[in-house]
Each structure stands twice: as C-alpha cells, then as structure tokens.
Symmetry: C2
Subunit: 202 residues, 2 copies
C-alpha cells in the first residue's frame, strides 16, 4: 500500500482561503483535513473534534515537551497546534491530508516533514486584496489596515512555499490545487504497485 501525502495550505486574509477550501473538500471528500488542538474555551455552536480538539493547557504543554506536535503557536494567551500522530497515521494509511496553517506554522512543519508539499493561496492583485478586506464593511479603517499589512507580510514570504495558486475565480483556484494534489498521486512511488502487477503478469 503506498503512502498518502501531506499538503500544507496557507493564505492570508483576503485570499479567500476558506471558500476555496470548502469547495475543494466538496469536490474531493476523500482528502482529509487535519484537526488542530487548542486550549481556548469552546464557543457556542462549536463541537469537540469537528474543527478543533479542545484540550487543557497542561495536556498541550505535555505534548510540546514530548515533541508530539508538528507545529504550535500562542494566540491571545492560548495554545494552537497540530498533533503529529493523526497526521502520520493518515498518511501511512494511504490518504492525502491537508493542513491549514499560517506562514509560521508552515515553516515549522516543513522543517519536521520536508516531504510535505506547501501551497500558498494568493489574491489576484493588490487592488482586489484591498477590495476584499474593505468589502466586509464591518471593520474600522484601523482594523482593515492592520489586516492589509499582515496580509502583505505573509505574501512576502510566499517564496517559502513549493506552489503558489491565485484565487481569482474560486473553481479555477480549486482546479489548480487539485492539479498539485492529483499530480502527487502519479509519482513513481505511488504507482509502483501497478508496475509490479504488469511485470508479474497479474
């Protein structure tokens, strides 16, 4: 049985990453999404194990200590991170897995699993990035400018990624991500069973 592949996907605010990801999973439900472990309290409507595993600070710190995380981060006093074991188990079982993280998370994972393929989702232009960030209409100019500067900071680090896809039209962006994922299924390592079969005249 050949192994699956880990794909790291990042996209700044305004890249439309969430819309792209849900369209991607709708078209290819066999691709698994990694679930983060976090220490912040559960919010109304959230379900344990759906988007996050809610664990205690002590559990999280023990995972850090025992090197059981692929990446982790602190945000507003809470820990966020990706447990290593479920990712390894998924890949070993032959499934492809996607991990949604920011540029810092992506860097941590690449250093631990260099064979992971990283994809950065870009807005199609600066004008469109600005339009999308303002477009929400609910935030103050200050908040928008902070988000814009953070987005540009992430885009400046797109060179750390293997692939860059542009989200102009959602379905076309999904097509592009699928080219990358499906091409990986065609590498020699993942096709060697077929070759064995033909050579053994099965």
């Amino acid at each position: 049985m050949s192994k699956g592949k880990l794909f790291i996907i990042s996209g700044p605010s305004g890249s439309g990453k969430d819309t792209v990801m849900s369209a991607l999973f709708q078209r290819h439900p066999e691709i698994k999404l990694s679930i983060s472990s976090i220490t912040r309290p559960m919010r109304t409507g959230e379900v344990e194990g759906e988007k996050y595993h809610f664990i205690s600070r002590e559990e999280f710190e023990s995972m850090i200590e025992h090197d059981q995380l692929l990446e982790h981060n602190v945000f507003v006093g809470n820990y966020y991170g990706t447990p290593k074991k479920p990712v390894i188990d998924c890949i070993e079982s032959g499934s492809d897995m996607i991990l949604e993280v920011d540029v810092n998370g992506a860097k941590q994972i690449k250093s631990k699993m260099p064979e992971a393929i990283s994809i950065f989702i870009m807005p199609p232009s600066y004008k469109e990035l600005e339009r999308r960030l303002i477009g929400r209409g609910t935030d103050s100019m200050e908040v928008i400018e902070k988000r814009l500067s953070s987005a540009l900071g992430e885009i400046a680090r797109a060179s750390e990624y293997d692939y860059v896809v542009t989200n102009d039209v959602v379905d076309r962006c999904v097509d592009d991500i699928l080219h990358i994922i499906l091409a990986q299924r065609l590498t020699f390592a993942r096709q060697s069973n077929l070759i064995e079969e033909v050579l053994n005249k099965c």
Copy 2:
C-alpha cells in the same frame, strides 16, 4: 518572464502513447513538441520539419562532436536525436515543451537536464498490453512476442521516471498528464512575477 518546463514522455509499444499525445496537443496546443533530427531518407508523405528534420550523416556527427544533442541513438544504421538549442530556446521563451523518447533517450536527457520532468505511460494491465499488441492482427506471433518482451523491458525501467500515468481511458490519461504539466506552472518560480506585482501594489 518565467521559464517554461521540459517534459520527457515515454511509453512502450501497447501503451497507446501516440493516441494520448495527439489528444493532449489537441487540448493544449500551446505546448510545443520537440522535433527530432534523423539521417534516414525522407519517406513519401513526410515533410521536412513536420515530425523530423532530415539531415546528413556528416551534419549529425558534427552535432555529436560539438555536444549539440540532448540525446541520440542509432537505429538500423541511421542516427536519431534531439538537438539541444531549440529545446533550450523554447523553455527560455516561457513555453512548455514535450520530448517523446524511449527509456534510453530519457536517461540521456535526465543526465544533461536533471530539472526536466519525466513521465512514463503504462498500459493498465498485462492482459490489456497483450491484447493491444495482438489486436493489430497484422503481425506474426514472433513479431508480437518480440514487441511484448521489449515493452516489458521498458516497463521494468519505469522506476527511472518521476511520474507514471496509466492509459486505460485516453481522456483520463490526458487529464493525468495535464495535472503534472499544469502543476509545474504553479511552482513558486513561475508565480514570482505575480507576487512582486501584489507587493509593489500594481
């Protein structure tokens, strides 16, 4: 302007490579096909520069001497080979190029241009390979067995390729090759212009 990419495509007798290639060029006419130089006489119906460049033995030997070929081979006393310059020019101009060669040609090219991406087209099973080779109905059992053993010899070297695609249904095989080619257009190197544009607020 970002560079194009060179794709080496091989497929044994019975892989259906020719059908796959013409369907591929029909769907993506922007992809260029490399034209071989050969020393055998032109046959009726052949046109100079269409599938081959017909050159003299002396010209060919001078190209070998001056290292102007990416690969070459002798078949029934005639030289066959791929001139280096048109391939380099095509890639530098930003176009993708496909080179159709056998396993020996692929090996020579990979040693000179390790960045080229190689793809091997497989028949879907041993039974289907046999069926396709017998199916022509025009050859003796001896010729068929020779072709079958040569095909199995090539398949045994599929491990030298980056990717392996199966030609069960032609259009699906073309989709697979396109995943590989189109994914290469999304590598960071080929998207860096867009990133510059967004960062420079163009």
